[in-house]
Amino acid sequence: MSDFSTWDIVRNLLLAARWTVAMSVIAFVCGGVAGLALLFMRTSKTQLLRIFAHAYIEVFQGTPLLMQLFLLFFGIALFGIDVSPWVAAGLALTLFTSAYLAEIWRGCVEAIPRGQWEASASLAMNYFEQMRHVILPQAFRIAIAPTVGFSVQVIKGTAVTSIIGFVELTKAGSMITNATFAPFTVFGLVALMYFSLCFPLSLYARRLERKMNVTR
């Protein structure tokens, strides 16, 4: 027996959805910066950096996001630091995002023809100069579509953070379900809200990809 109107439910979900969006943006931006650093490490001439970046990416792509979240959450607590769910969630999602974006971008860098590397090398540029002026500007164009596509994965990833108590859209859905006993409605609405966040991004990514293939 519920004395909540559908509008009440929607309103509360929307409030929680703000945190989903905020967390997604933070993870995407910070993950992007970290991902760029990882990219340089992964393609570096120093073998140690390459191996580290390779291992990092393998681990983050080969384990569940939930495990990464738990390890961070409980791991930090071992140091006596009281970590709030949203800090742990933000950190975990950032690291997760950095691994995936680094891989995506590495593929884009490797798609640049060898001749570009050889020409800029012949013109006496070092690795950083080559990346900054010749390779990355070209790789950037190729990378936009898959990067936008990955943003959808980040948004979906925030749902998992509900498990450690971060109150975003999914957690709110669980809590409201417990109060209203209307799981079908509540989770249906939750799904709809995620859909309205993700679907436009998916469409945009697809459009970008089509545009890229046309100009090639």
């Binding site: 681990v59 996001l65 379900t177 989770f187 939750v190 799904a191 995620y194």
Partner: protein, 222 residues
């Protein structure tokens, strides 16, 4: 940091981890088998322009790909009973995984089918093969070979995603880990080992799928 790691306390509860791994494998296997089946049907429906069915499948694919798996899981387990469909944890988890992988594999397989040169189909038609025969012998096998790497990746992703099924008490690995740490209070150690097990499973699964692709799909005459 004045914390002493105690991995041996996890060893005492190892049977829960073993059961958990088996549970994850069972879940992934069922999800994969039926999920790819759904995917093949869906790819056919979309590529062969069966009206009505095509739109339904398109909607289904978009819905699944743009919502988190955990929400799909909760909807199946908590939401469906409200309209009379009661499922056990196991059934709900498997169903959610099938629905999820089904959507992704529909897209992947469809791309594979559409990449097959039209000339081959025309040749087969000229050789008096029926549409059904053409699909089974010419189209499907080639498509599967081509998209096998992408499909394998997705299967591994779904396997890793099964961790979330612990939330509805499906007895897979994460659920086992949750249980252990509630008993020995060694959360970090338990989840550390658990993560290692997932990594192992992911690497093994990748190898397994790759060799399946090489041996069964690409079966070349010696």
């Amino acid at each position: 940091m004045d914390y002493t790691f105690d991995f041996t306390s996890v060893w005492e509860y190892r049977e829960y981890l073993v059961n958990g791994v088996l549970g994850t494998i069972r879940l992934t296997a069922a999800g994969t088998l039926f999920g790819i089946g759904v995917g093949i049907l869906g790819a056919v429906a979309r590529a062969w322009n069966m009206p009505g069915l095509r739109q339904i499948y398109a909607g289904y694919v978009e819905l699944i790909r743009n919502t988190p798996f955990i929400v799909q899981l909760f909807f199946v387990f908590f939401g469906l009973p409200a309209i009379g469909v009661q499922l056990t944890e196991w059934e709900a988890a498997t169903l959610a995984m099938v629905i999820n992988l089904g959507a992704y594999s529909t897209e992947i397989i469809r791309a594979g089918i559409e990449a097959i040169p039209k000339g081959q189909i025309e040749a087969a038609l000229a050789l008096a093969m029926s549409r059904y025969q053409i699909f089974c012998h010419v189209v499907l096998r080639q498509a599967l070979i081509k998209i096998w790497p992408a499909l394998s990746s997705q299967i591994v992703i779904v396997m890793l995603g099964s961790a979330v099924c612990s939330q509805i008490s499906a007895e897979e690995l994460t659920f086992g880990a949750n249980f252990i740490q509630s008993r020995n209070f060694r959360a970090f150690e338990v989840y550390f080992i658990c993560t290692g097990l997932y990594l192992l499973m992911a690497l093994s699964l990748r190898q397994l799928l790759a060799s399946f692709g090489r041996r069964v799909l690409v079966r070349r005459a010696p």
